[in-house]
């Protein structure tokens, strides 16, 4: 691959939450303008736009550009499930590497319906057969992890406690309040072992990242060291592609594992070099599974990692210091870029709610329907 450095010139975000008075376009315009302002760039500097969204409908990104002032640049709307924003980031990065442009905007945005989403992912017959029940698949995956790592449901509650405590410090999170282990365990049971508060909420929001081949002067440079996107191999009965069968032996590597391996190789770093990780905590167990897939702990090592507080703020490798999806909620198309925006702030020492003392290398991870998994590694220079 052509390895010209790609820099983040500016970032912007619209808080994640529920905003009945705002259209999807409004959310996107807000994040886009914030990013332009952050980059101190006029709209005319943007030579192409990649817009990640799952439920945005026809011409979602075009409507944002139209509202900002139509400049006739190429606009491509991108869907890759929970990794939509990351897929848009990948496309933007490759276009810059190909030297087709000097500066592009990568936008992610979503306005999700409330409650259980009737995804177009499932076929009609799967719905009819009672198989289109997303949280049950999360629950089965959680059970498997608990069994494999010798954990129990209290460990899951503790993840929620950690992430909500982190989120309490993040003004862009949907929930900005702490919860206790007992409250989490007492929240309504969704699918054994998952309680309601252990699941993230689909919601609304937008995030924008402006990429450029030259770094902005006068601010700490942040480079996209790697961005990878992978889909699935067949055989894992609990894979994110929601299969109905799998093999008992020879389970293939997951999309997250594949994306992580590739990203570490491209960036030339590994888990020991990471100062901060934002990963897909769609549910509390998913965070722990993601940490394993990303190599933050070895198989069978999770109980020890939790006992020793590796992933807490101030721990060996803080995970979801932003509050994660459990605090922010998950606006599908915006989610991955929301992570990138937060990591960029941390790398530049300007994170709201307090930054890490040392932050040089940070990783963002998403995984979901498709299957899709993305890993982004950012590096401060």
């Amino acid at each position: 691959m052509i390895d010209t450095p790609i820099y983040i010139a500016g970032v912007g975000i619209h808080r994640f939450g529920r905003f009945p008075a705002q259209t999807l376009t409004d959310l996107g315009v807000h994040a886009f303008r914030a990013a332009l302002h952050d980059a101190e760039l006029p709209l005319s500097a943007i030579q192409a736009i990649y817009c990640g969204s799952v439920y945005g409908g026809v011409a979602a990104g075009h409507k944002v550009l139209g509202a900002l002032g139509a400049t006739s640049v190429p606009v491509v709307n991108v869907e890759a499930g929970c990794a939509s924003g990351a897929a848009a980031l990948l496309l933007g990065t490759l276009a810059l590497r190909a030297q087709a442009y000097d500066c592009v905007a990568v936008l992610g945005m979503e306005k999700m319906p409330k409650g259980m989403i009737r995804s177009s992912f499932f076929d009609l017959w799967q719905e009819q057969a009672g198989l289109a029940v997303t949280p049950a698949y999360f629950a089965l995956r959680a059970q498997q992890l608990l069994r494999e790592e010798g954990l129990d449901v209290r460990d899951l509650a503790k993840i929620v406690v950690k992430n909500r405590a982190n989120g309490a410090l993040n003004p862009y999170a949907m929930f900005q309040s702490r919860v206790t282990e007992e409250e989490v365990l007492a929240s309504p049971e969704v699918c054994e072992p998952l309680r309601l508060w252990m699941l993230c909420s689909p919601n609304e929001g937008a995030a924008c990242v402006i990429l450029a081949r030259k770094a902005v002067l006068g601010r700490r440079k942040v480079r996209v060291a790697a961005i990878t996107l992978r889909s699935h191999r067949f055989g894992n009965v609990l894979g994110e592609h929601t299969p109905l069968c799998g093999t008992a032996r020879e389970v293939p590597p997951s999309p997250s594992e594949l994306a992580a391996r590739e990203a570490y190789e491209i960036a030339g770093v590994g888990p020991p070099e990471l100062d901060l990780v934002e990963c897909q905590d769609t549910d509390a167990a998913r965070e722990l599974l993601a940490c394993r897939e990303l190599g933050l702990y070895g198989a069978g090592e999770c109980a020890q990692a939790l006992r020793e507080g590796w992933f807490l703020p101030g721990g060996k490798i803080p995970v979801n210091l932003s509050g994660g999806l459990l605090s922010k909620g998950e606006p599908l198309g915006a989610s991955a870029l929301g992570q990138v925006v937060y990591l960029c702030w941390q790398l530049q020492g300007r994170a709201p709610g307090g930054g890490l003392e040392r932050c040089r290398v940070a990783l963002a991870h998403t995984v979901g329907r498709g299957a899709n998994a993305s890993v982004t590694i950012l590096q401060g220079e």
């Binding site: 067949f234 299969p243 032996r249």
Partner: protein
């Protein structure tokens, strides 16, 4: 799905034994014996990589080969993991609650399938494939979908009727 044609003859046997017009939610999803009511899920075996997929597909999802053939999966298995679905998910009009389980069939294939239960089943629980009624389609056909039953429990009358005993 284009794979439907090859297996329609097997899949339709379940329809022939019920009084009211009935059909599987997906053609070729399962087969049933009109003699003893045995229900088999229908998978596909790949002659290239020798692996089994469920539901049956024309191309092998593991290796992409087009040399696959429809095969009956074993009816029996044990629960590996199980959770409980309390509220009807979108588009589902069958009974609740029910279990959703990872089941290890006797062939060692793992499948995800609904199980008739009101509580979470323990790992190792022996189950057998059956069908359940999950509403009607627009033409008034009874819709049938696979659902495993715990082996120790007697089959319910409604299911007996459906699978033709």
């Amino acid at each position: 799905m284009t794979s439907g044609r090859a297996i329609a003859s097997v899949g339709q046997s379940v329809v022939s034994v019920v009084a009211m017009p009935a059909k599987p939610v997906r053609e070729g999803l399962f087969a049933a014996s009109s003699e003893d009511g045995t229900v088999w899920l229908l998978g596909s075996e790949c002659t290239k990589c020798a692996r089994t997929a469920f539901p049956a597909s024309e191309l092998c999802p593991y290796c992409g080969s087009d040399r696959t053939q429809v095969s009956r999966l074993p009816s029996d298995g044990v629960v590996e993991l199980c959770t409980l679905v309390r509220k009807s998910p979108p588009g589902y009009r069958g009974p609740t609650p029910y279990g959703l389980a990872v089941i290890r069939l006797t062939s060692d294939l793992l499948i995800v399938a609904p199980v008739e239960t009101h509580e979470v089943l323990a790992c190792g629980t022996r189950v057998r494939c059956g069908v359940r009624e999950v509403g009607e389609d627009e033409e008034g056909n009874l819709l049938l979908a696979p659902c495993f039953r715990v082996l120790e429990v007697q089959p319910e009358a409604s299911l007996m009727r459906v699978v033709g005993s």
